[in-house]
């Protein structure tokens, strides 16, 4: 198994307009690691740099301590699944999957065995003789994955591989890809802008914005303890309340326009710091209690979304969203809301 280390990697296409600003990143061996961010944040650029399809302006890429920064793409053993799949239409499924092995001059017997195994993994053994254009989108995606797996890469790179599939197929393929990566003990880097995909599949996630690494951590960490407001909103819906830190009897609390909140973890914030509180919609509940971590709000209306119901409330100047079970029923009017200390996330206030 291979670990991947990026040291101070930077890239610009135009002078003065960096696509990636220098940062370090380590992907552990056998990890399914996600690069998550909006379009244009540099995540695909980073993946192409890893594949050797782009040269970084500065920095190093190390596979198991071997510097591969100047290796040609064909020498890296970092097989990539392209967003467009990049399957060759003039070749059959078998020939597509066998391509890398043939380029490496593997024997006919090895080619047959490896291609068959790769196609079995993606459940496409029956389609070996078919031409690519005759396959469905989902099948093409799996051929692209089989093609990358067949060469037994040190690192598997996946560039938004599910973006062209319909929702149901996407859900199925998420499970499949994770199964394959884990079964084959691969180190995989997966690029996506779909937070559900990242949260449901990743061992760890790196969130990128405007070429800057915002945060790295497990799905629970980046969702539950986002480093900043961008990460918080990119990973999920959030209610934000501006406030000021105030220590009472040795306990740090945050005073906002709607009430006082006591977070379970206030991090390194100190008395007088201006902060923003993140309250996830699913972490706010209706209550009859009063005191810290509760506040009054006017329920305006709600929408039914199948698996849950979304309520829209107004607390002072703040519009809030609250998620409750789909079975809940409420009339508009005055309510009290509460949030547990462990669900109060304190972020640095941004201008």
């Amino acid at each position: 198994m291979t670990n991947v280390r990026l040291e101070q990697i930077a890239k610009s296409y135009q002078a003065g307009k960096p696509v990636l600003k220098p940062f370090d990143l380590t992907v552990e061996a056998g990890e399914l690691f996600f690069l998550l961010g909006p379009s244009g944040c540099g995540k695909s650029t980073l993946l192409r740099i890893l594949a050797g399809l782009l040269k970084p302006d500065s920095g190093k890429i190390l596979f198991n301590d071997t510097d591969v920064t100047d290796f040609a793409p064909e020498k890296r053993q970092a097989a990539m699944v392209f967003q467009s799949y990049a399957l060759w239409p003039h070749l059959t499924v078998f020939e597509n999957v066998a391509f890398g092995l043939r380029a490496a001059r593997a024997s006919g017997k090895v080619i047959k065995e490896e291609v068959t195994r790769a196609l079995e993994i993606v459940h496409l053994a029956d389609c070996a003789d078919r031409k690519v254009p005759s396959l469905s989108g989902g099948q093409q995606q799996r051929v692209a994955l089989a093609r990358a797996l067949a060469v037994q890469p040190k690192v598997l790179l996946l560039d938004e591989p599910l973006s062209n599939l319909d929702a149901r197929l996407r859900d199925e393929m998420r499970v499949e890809i994770r199964r394959i990566v884990k079964e084959r003990k691969l180190t995989a880097l997966y690029v996506t802008h779909d937070r559900r995909e990242a949260l449901s599949m990743a061992d760890r996630i790196a969130v990128l914005n405007q070429g800057i690494l915002q945060q790295t951590g497990s799905p629970e960490e980046v969702y539950g303890r986002p480093a900043n407001r961008f990460v918080a909103t990119f990973l999920g819906d959030g209610n934000f309340l501006d406030g000021i830190c105030k220590t009472e009897k040795g306990v740090l609390k945050v005073t906002t326009s709607v009430g006082t909140f006591q977070p379970a973890d206030a991090g390194s914030f100190m008395d007088g710091d201006k902060v923003t509180l993140l309250l996830r919609p699913e972490c706010i509940r209706f209550t009859d209690a009063a005191g810290d971590n509760t506040f009054a709000a006017q329920l305006k209306n709600g929408v039914f979304l199948g698996d849950h119901r979304e309520w829209f409330c107004q607390a002072g100047d703040n519009a809030l969203t609250i998620n409750e079970s789909a079975a809940s029923r409420r009339d508009s009017g005055e309510y009290r809301l509460a949030v547990a200390p462990e669900h109060v996330v304190v972020l640095k206030q941004e201008c």
């Binding site: 967003q83 003039h90 391509f99």
Partner: protein
């Protein structure tokens, strides 16, 4: 837009009559008279005719091979790299298109002739002169001259085909460990098949049926030249009909075989899934390599034309490396010769008419095939591309045959007393595929909803066409018209065969006749060729300015 009105049905009927009259009937006339088993047997039994066919086939194969060798490297360089002067290099490499190869042959003879430039260099080095253009040398001279003229067609097709290949196709291969050459063989080349197929088949048929270049080099043992020489005895000798019929069969066969040999290509057509260019910048001295390669190729390709210009300006250029004594006399003589000025007027007349025919027919065909898509539109689209597979010499001969066989045709298309309509129709039908492609490209790039919006707001079909469609595709119409006009001005096969009296000679036939005059004749022909070259260059430059890089779409079939 559905075909609803009687007017639409009428337009399709008119188009079908147009093709029947100007394309199918001439071919049928040739086939009817030429496909006589006894005549065909004589062609294959007669050594001269057999040799003519073999030579023509040889010219087609060697020329197509040379064209591929010449066109592929610059197309790859253009697609893969950013380099200084890229756009200018792209335009410059198409320079040989500004003259028909038969005029370039005049310059080529000046370079490779026994007393030409190359032999002048050999002599100055104390070496023996070599008769490059003697014996089989003429065969290769014809092939090289045609290849230097035709490579831009394949180049443009290849550039377009490469542009349609998703860069990820190559990146995926590199990513899986394939080296540069392996990627080229296994990925790029197979995906290029549609471009190779499109350009290669045109070059193959074009060079197989080329009349002017072998005629200029005096290489008479080719079928087109044998047909040309047989025109004078057409009423008494049916052999030219049989030769034309054989040429038609061979052309269709070559076209079909080239498509089969290149393997359909449908699956490897457009693979571009995402926007993006594969061109990567080169740094340091390496960035000048593509620029140098383009400049070298352009230089070699326009060498015959440079020699033509020098010859036109020189008082004498005989046994010397460079021409001796500059003069404008040949230009004066060219303009004062009795066939020259009338031939310019004639060419203008034929070409303007041909341009209007071709643009009107091209517009109608493009609307039927891209907007209506009704029954019969596929047939019309196919018919509009047929002139590419049917050689000009066949069509010209077909028209001539029609005037011999049908009284009505003799009245409208009298080749002896008034060939104006005959030549205009022949020119128009030959250039129709280029006009159709130019206009179709415009219509395909114009969202149909722009027209629907006009209809939705109450505009009628004609009003929508006039106020919305035509202004939006004006550039394409102009370019299609310019192509039809300029290539009609330089048309060779139809001109040599159909213009029989000096008073009706177009420019190309006048150049040919002048080149045959002993003494200063070839020099005057060169001077006239320079006039023609300037004229065509101006036309193509206008087209290039209007369409920019999209000019390649005109030559994509």
């Amino acid at each position: 837009m559905k075909l609803r009105s009687a007017g639409s049905a009428l337009l399709i009927a008119v188009l079908l009559v147009f093709f029947s009259l100007f394309l199918i009937l001439p071919v049928y006339t040739v086939a009817k008279d030429g496909l006589d088993p006894a005549l065909l047997a004589e062609i294959f039994n007669n050594f001269l005719y057999r040799e003519g066919l073999i030579n023509s086939l040889g010219i087609a194969i060697v020329t197509t091979f040379l064209v591929t060798l010449i066109a592929l490297p610059p197309a790859l360089l253009y697609d893969r790299f950013e380099f200084p002067g890229k756009n200018w290099s792209h335009l410059a490499i198409m320079a040989p298109m500004i003259l028909p190869p038969f005029v370039g042959a005049l310059g080529f003879q000046q370079i490779l002739g026994y007393y030409g430039v190359l032999n002048g260099i050999l002599a100055s080095l104390g070496l023996e002169r070599i008769d490059f253009l003697g014996g089989e040398g003429k065969f290769f001279a014809v092939c090289i001259m045609e290849a230097l003229h035709l490579y831009p067609i394949l180049y443009l097709n290849l550039v377009t085909a490469l542009g349609n290949i998703d860069p990820a196709m190559n990146e995926a291969a590199a990513n899986l460990g394939a080296g540069r050459w392996y990627r080229f063989r296994k990925v790029t080349l197979p995906l290029l098949k549609p471009g190779l197929l499109a350009g290669g088949s045109i070059v193959l048929v074009w060079s197989f049926t080329e009349l002017g270049t072998p005629l200029m080099f005096g290489y008479t043992r080719t079928t087109p030249v044998q047909i040309f020489n047989g025109i004078t005895e057409l009423e008494s000798n049916p052999m030219p009909y049989a030769l034309v019929a054989v040429m038609l069969i061979f052309s269709a066969g070559l076209y079909a075989v080239s498509r089969m040999a290149l393997g359909g290509g449908a699956s490897a057509a457009q693979t571009k899934g995402v926007a993006g260019s594969a061109a990567s910048p080169l740094s340091g001295w390496k960035k000048w390599i593509p620029t140098g390669a383009f400049a070298l190729l352009t230089g070699v390709a326009i060498l015959p034309h440079i020699a033509l210009i020098f010859a036109a300006f020189s008082k004498s250029w005989y046994q010397t490396i460079l021409p001796q004594h500059a003069t404008l006399l040949h230009f004066e003589n060219a303009l004062s010769h009795k066939v020259v000025v009338p031939s310019i007027i004639n060419s203008l007349q034929y070409s303007v008419l041909a341009m209007f025919f071709a643009v009107a027919a091209g517009l109608a065909i493009s609307i039927v095939t891209t907007r209506w898509r009704c029954k019969g539109s596929r047939l019309i689209d196919l018919a509009s591309m047929l002139p590419l597979a049917v050689p000009g010499i066949v069509i010209a001969f077909g028209y001539l045959g029609m005037t011999v066989h049908y009284r009505w045709a003799r009245l409208v298309f009298d080749p002896i007393n008034n060939p104006v309509w005959l030549l205009a129709a022949a020119y128009a039908i030959r250039r129709l595929p280029y006009v159709v492609r130019a206009v179709t490209a415009g219509l395909e790039q114009t969202p149909v909803d722009l027209e629907n919006a006009a209809r939705n707001l109450g505009a009628g079909a004609w009003s929508t066409m006039r106020k919305i469609t035509l202004p939006l595709i004006a550039a394409n119409l102009i370019v299609g018209g310019l192509f039809a006009f300029s290539f009609s001005m330089m048309e060779v096969s139809d001109s040599l065969i159909l213009a029989q009296k000096a008073e009706f000679y177009p420019i190309t036939k006048a150049i040919y006749e002048l080149s045959q005059i002993l003494g200063a004749g070839p020099r005057i022909a060169c001077a006239f060729g320079v006039w023609a070259m300037l004229f065509l260059a101006a036309t193509l430059a206008s087209a290039g300015l209007i369409l920019g890089r999209k000019i390649g779409a005109v030559f994509k079939f």
